[in-house]
Amino acid sequence: MTARTMDAGTGDVTLFHTSQLDKLINMARENSLWYLLFGLACCGIELMQFGGPRADVMRFGAIPRASPRQADFMIVAGTLTYKMAERAKLLYDQMPEPKYVISMGSCSNCGGLFQLGYSVCKGVDKVIPVDVYVPGCPPRPEALTEGLIRLQELIRSEPWATKRRPAKGSAA
């Protein structure tokens, strides 16, 4: 069918192929999402369960990486202090595009129960752009798995060729 359209020589041909390529690339991307380990507080413990045998996110192709340079997305799990926020930004900047962020737990969503603390950053989205927020204190591994699935949905619907981020990703 493709070949016949091509023979006809209409302009639609290219469009047709691009959309398929998008799907193909996105299929590859969404099923090999590697995440940067960034456990900060009690949520970090739950993040370990997320990678463990019961939740087993590796069935979705998500593998923990200890280096930002090999990571596709970052899970910010736990209480982010101002001191750590600068490090978080540094790690985020080191990740290759395209990159995503999952904010895990109330603390990294908005500061959580430590929001009134003098040293606690009021949400990781003050520092780096966030794609998926997972609520809970802490979220169960199932909830985080759902967060990952939402991220996969996001990636699936993304026009890969035009995917760009502003160079300076600071929301603050």
């Binding site: 001191k83 003098y118 003050k126 603050a172």
Partner: protein, 190 residues
């Protein structure tokens, strides 16, 4: 040995530089003068029969009304299973005291913590830097009159209240509904 007996021996050695033992509490304490704290600590560590070889905790309290900062020493002896608490009262405006880092090594980080959060300077400390907050932090947060400076390095310290935004959207929707119900001239005006 009971805390009272330890206190008696301290009294016998240092006289008026060691205050009376507080009434029995979980941890009865004695107030020591600022000048002799290192001597008292060395004595307590080395004296046969006392040998308080472990500094369990070193912390501080802020009393703005009395214009005082109290530094608290929790001492424990592993060998004799007894303990005592010492307190030193410092001037709140410029709190300063000699370090006991030479007596118990563990005091190093405790004193850095007290310096970080209360601003007490420990004279003779080998490495008196902030330990938990960033080096360029302003102020000492556990002081009762500490004021936040408003964010850090450009990170805002304000979180918008989502309920306020939801209310705003609600108001807009209600206004639109009222306008639609109000008559035909609504859209024309807009």
């Amino acid at each position: 040995m009971t805390t009272t007996e330890i206190h008696d021996r301290l009294k016998a050695r240092f006289g008026d530089d060691v205050g009376p033992l507080s009434e029995p509490k979980i941890d009865a304490f004695a107030v020591v003068t600022r000048e002799r704290i290192v001597e008292v600590c060395t004595f307590l560590r080395d004296e046969p029969g006392l040998e308080l070889d472990f500094l369990e905790d070193l912390t501080a309290l802020d009393w703005p009304k009395n214009n005082q900062i109290e530094v608290v020493y929790h001492l424990l002896s592993y060998r004799h299973r007894h303990s005592i608490v010492l307190k030193v009262q410092l001037d709140r405006a410029a709190p300063s005291i000699s370090t006991v880092e030479g007596v118990w090594k563990t005091a190093n980080w405790f004193e850095r913590e007290v310096y970080d959060l209360f601003g007490v300077t420990f004279a003779g400390h080998p490495d008196l830097r902030r330990i938990m907050l960033p080096d360029d932090w302003i102020g000492h947060p556990l002081r009762k009159d500490y004021q936040e400076t408003g964010g850090y390095h450009g990170f805002s310290n304000v979180r918008e209240n989502p309920l306020v935004e939801l209310k705003r959207l609600d108001d807009v929707r209600r206004a639109e509904a009222a306008k639609a119900a109000g008559g035909v001239d609504g859209p024309a005006k807009a």
